[in-house]
Amino acid sequence: MIRLEHVSKTYPASARPALDDVTVDIEKGEFVFLVGSSGSGKSTFLRLLLKEEDPTGGRVHVAGKDLARLSHWKVPALRRSIGCVFQDFRLLPNKTVFQNVAFALEVIGKPQHQISKVVPEVLDLVGLEGKSKRMPDELSGGEQQRVAVARAFVNRPMILIADEPTGNLDPSTRVGIMKLLDRINRTGTTVVMATHDAAIVDSMRRRVVELSMGKVVRDQSRGVYGHGA
């Protein structure tokens, strides 16, 4: 589903590469934690998958597409097959919960009758039934992140990318979000999650890819956050 072959990325302003000869293969339906300290290259890794950046070396394949050969106007189609969740939720403050999720479908031209059918479904799935008319600032952090997950998943993407999705949440809320991501993973969606959260990685016991200074220093199935085990 995702394959990076000897991928390097050096930003123009920096001497040290953000990613240095990274080779990773992620199968369909996998749940992968991307760990490593700040500046280790996790965010660059995720940005490459979305073709927000192009690698300076190597090849990136996502959902069967060679991103280097993907023409500019096909990038939106790529991004429709990938859902994204971020640490800062990125909700639109002047839209309701329903409208925030519906926005993701409206802007890719989905018809209204389909929107009014699938948005309540996905809100039920993430546990926000009955809150569709709330504004984001009336919700707790965990609930806001659920809205973001609903928006990322409403178009049923093949891949869900989560960049520190629990970073702004308190421990009890984190567990709820992780359960939600786990449930989405069980529907067959590939999940790639960058995180600093050792407790979560340790409790989930899923594949762990650790980056350090832009290199893959560990790739372990059923791994933990720290070294060893």
Binding site: C84, F103, I108, R151
Partner: protein, 302 residues
């Protein structure tokens, strides 16, 4: 593409950015109005040319008793010379029609023309006025060709083109038109830059929305169209105001002030105004569209 979505996005954008939008509309309106005034000036020139060139003629004055002209030898034109000239001028392909005006006829016309100034008429006798051939050209601008063909003919004292009297007037109008276009050009440049800036600010103030749109895979068209249409809408409203301005110019300045004052000439009609207005819209929409398009390419990368 869902129209309601795009329309609501445009509405949000224009309201958030109201002061810039108004500034954009005003600049577009002023620049297009000046441009339109330039076009109308051009049409005014051609209206006057049509009006006057239809009336002007070339006068070939014939030698009289004691004429100083080089072809005259101090004596009046002979009847043979006159007949030959009439034939030759009439046969010239430039000439639409020609007629002969005798001294007596010239005197009658003179009396008619200056009927309000008796002392002038009393001081002039038919003998003082030269006989002439009055020539109407097919193309009034071809005066030089006709003059060079007959200026050396025996019995011709002088050739005079009435059009030459009008030329300074047309030169002034042409220069006014040029000035209008230079001013319009500068204004249009300002308008284009202002629209570009308006769109840039709009794109910046909605970067959260557009960022999400990019992430969920909205197409370029979907992301950029509301901004593009915002720019074009400014162009359309500006052009409409400019069109209203031109109509006011025609109704007040031309019809109320100039027309009653200057009865001797023709002025632009409503047909000219309506012929100019579509160009204002073409230019307004085209310029704002292009300006928005290039701004978006730079500031709303997908």
């Amino acid at each position: 593409m869902r129209a309601s979505f795009v329309l609501s996005e445009i509405g949000i954008g224009l309201r958030r950015n109201l002061t810039m939008t108004i500034a954009g509309v005003i600049t577009v309106a002023i620049s297009l109005a000046i441009f339109g005034a330039g076009l109308l000036a051009q049409r005014q020139v051609s209206a006057m040319k049509d009006f006057w060139y239809d009336k002007v003629e070339v006068s070939i004055y014939l030698c009289g008793e004691g004429s100083k002209g080089p072809n005259c030898n101090g004596s009046a034109v002979t009847p043979e010379q006159r007949t030959q000239l009439l034939e030759e001028v009439g046969a010239n392909p430039l000439v639409e029609k020609v007629f002969y005006e005798s001294q007596a006829q010239a005197y009658e016309n003179f009396k008619k023309q200056f009927k309000d100034s008796d002392d002038l008429i009393q001081n002039v006798t038919p003998d003082a006025l030269p006989e002439s051939l009055r020539v109407k050209l097919k193309d009034p601008t071809k005066y030089e060709d006709l003059a060079s063909a007959f200026i050396d003919s025996p019995g011709v004292e002088e050739i005079q083109d009435q059009k030459a009297l009008l030329d300074p007037f047309f030169r002034v109008l042409n220069r006014l038109q040029l000035v209008a276009w230079v001013v319009a050009g500068i204004q249009i440049l300002a308008a284009v830059l202002l629209i570009g800036n308006t769109i840039r600010v709009a794109a910046f103030s909605r970067r959260r929305e557009t960022g999400i749109m990019r992430l969920v895979g909205a197409s370029n068209l979907y992301i950029q169209l509301p901004f593009l249409l915002e720019g074009v809408l400014v162009g359309i409203v500006g052009a409409a105001l400019a069109a209203a301005g031109l109509a006011a110019l025609k109704a007040v300045l031309v019809d109320r002030l100039l027309q009653p004052m200057l009865k001797f000439t023709a002025f632009v009609g409503w047909g000219d105004v309506f012929a100019v207005i579509p160009w204002l819209f073409v230019l307004g929409v085209g310029l704002t569209g292009i300006s928005s398009f290039f701004t978006l390419r730079r500031h709303l990368r997908v």
